[in-house]
Symmetry: C2
Subunit: 350 residues, 2 copies
Amino acid sequence: MSEKRRIGLKDIARELGISISTASRALNAYPGIADETIKLVKEYAEKHNYVPNTMAVNFRKNKTMTLGIVVPELIHYFFSSVISGAIQTAKKHGYSVFVSQTDEKVANEIVACRTLLSSGIDGLLISISNETIEGKHIQEFLEEGKPVVQFDKVSDYLETPKVIVDDFQGAFNAVEHLLKKGYKKIAHIGGWADVKNSVERKRGYMEALRTNGFEIHGDFLLECTDISEQEGYEFTKKLMESHNPPDAIFCITDLVAIGAIKYLKEKNFQIPEQVGVMGFSNWQLAGMVSPGLSSVDQHAYEMGVKSTEILINILRGKALCTDQTHIVKTELIIRESTSVKSHKDQEPIN
Amino acid sequence: MSEKRRIGLKDIARELGISISTASRALNAYPGIADETIKLVKEYAEKHNYVPNTMAVNFRKNKTMTLGIVVPELIHYFFSSVISGAIQTAKKHGYSVFVSQTDEKVANEIVACRTLLSSGIDGLLISISNETIEGKHIQEFLEEGKPVVQFDKVSDYLETPKVIVDDFQGAFNAVEHLLKKGYKKIAHIGGWADVKNSVERKRGYMEALRTNGFEIHGDFLLECTDISEQEGYEFTKKLMESHNPPDAIFCITDLVAIGAIKYLKEKNFQIPEQVGVMGFSNWQLAGMVSPGLSSVDQHAYEMGVKSTEILINILRGKALCTDQTHIVKTELIIRESTSVKSHKDQEPIN
DNA sequence: TTGAAAGCGGTACCAC
DNA sequence: GTGGTACCGCTTTCAA
């Protein structure tokens, strides 16, 4: 670590016999500087590889060209994709990004936000934890004039732009697909009743049934508490052992669906012939398990890009920090787990 | 966005009729300040929720309490786990972390490093891209006196601490396990010949065979170019269709192993009875596919923790930035894909 | 077209 | 124990 000292504006000015301000202006392409001076300064700077001291600039301009992103869990295909999109987009516009995770705990979220705020980020991207309700800690950013964009899991208490996936439509399409494939007794292994995404998916499920003239069967509505493979397995067991087993299962998440498949395979139910299985999220693994799991892709990367673009537009004064909601379309990915009669034409329902 | 103005040291000093320096010292628990003054200042600060301006502090102290982490791919179970460990550890010590990804391209890596360097991070954690050889751009950090810790994919051209997984031992154990299970014709679908991790795994494979008195069969050594599921499938096909098919396949990665399994299942080979399959990395999905995939866990999270601790120790002057290598142990995870005769005792080999 | 100088908000040295 | 003050490196107003 040989500590090579960096040169500063002062050095350039001294060596070139000009003033610091002139040097500064020359480098920043300010108007009203002789072309020759500019050339001179730029060349000298280049030659001695002058790098402006970012901390000084930040301090002076009171902005850092950094964004913060807070997610419940980093080790998650969905969130790491969103983050990836956010980082890529931020980079494109000259921003760096701090990443924090909350493990779905508000307490952690509060600490993360406070740290981010005091570290002087220019704007925040956040997907709130399951525990978060009002988000006073997020409000603090707005109070300091720092824009916030919420994505995926959002709080309606906060007046910020929101970028969400159309859970309702995604679920609706998924279930309608099952109906078109001829499944008539579709169960739903859902999530918490107080998490918006879960509620919307359930609503989509119900609406698809209703629209297509099917009744909603109470025994077909299950609720996960920890949304695990284990629960998928257990609930599927419960469903299949009941006196009226379903012929298809729409799961809140691919993970749950994997559990469902595991049970079904163990008991030698044919997928998709006897039972169809539909996931949600389209994780990488959905294409790797067998049978391939049909799922609803949430376009996570796009979501990261979109959210970041909105945030940067606000920072650039090109947009306002209103509470507009942007919806990212979902995409139904059909794989073997629902591809019964896949070589025939689909028959119309009703 | 109602722009609430923050108070500063100046305001505190004025209101309390003391000097700015006293206020500063009181808040930072400097020695030689009357307890009463401290109390007074702290109370006032608390009440008017004074938050020191981080940019000013950074500027003055010439450090930012931020670290940078550069990885080839963020959307990767392994790397997101490392990052998670790094972020957690950094947080514990008061550091925030910037995350960058390179998509395995040196060009991107150079940009990422330059950005990170100019953004004033205190230290760097990096796993180099496959294309990186010398890493002059990383050297620049060292030249500026900023410590660097390399992890997983490291360059020996750089004199920094390195935290790596014991690929050799991991592979050795994996292959020895296969041998103990009675497999006698073990193939290896490996990676690039010029990437250290691949080389080490191959070396482990060969050494395990040799140690146990088996010969290395040239036709059993395959090399992936893009390390995909597809390649796993293709190479397995090639192996199984040859005149001398293997009875077990040790794959460079779980992804490749999934491809192998896909082929084997398609052709109705019994796993693990006819063919055993071993992966490497122990991705989440290894436990979800069926049959469950035996694999070598790399303790990614631990790696992130360890690397970050080393970096922070250097920053705190508790350690030097020498080029010591730290090895994270691997762990063999046995699942169904190699559990032939799982209810019998293993028979000794040789 | 250029230069001088006033800060940005703290920290830390030096004097009392 | 406390106050005064010189910076940190750069941007930006004002004057020339």
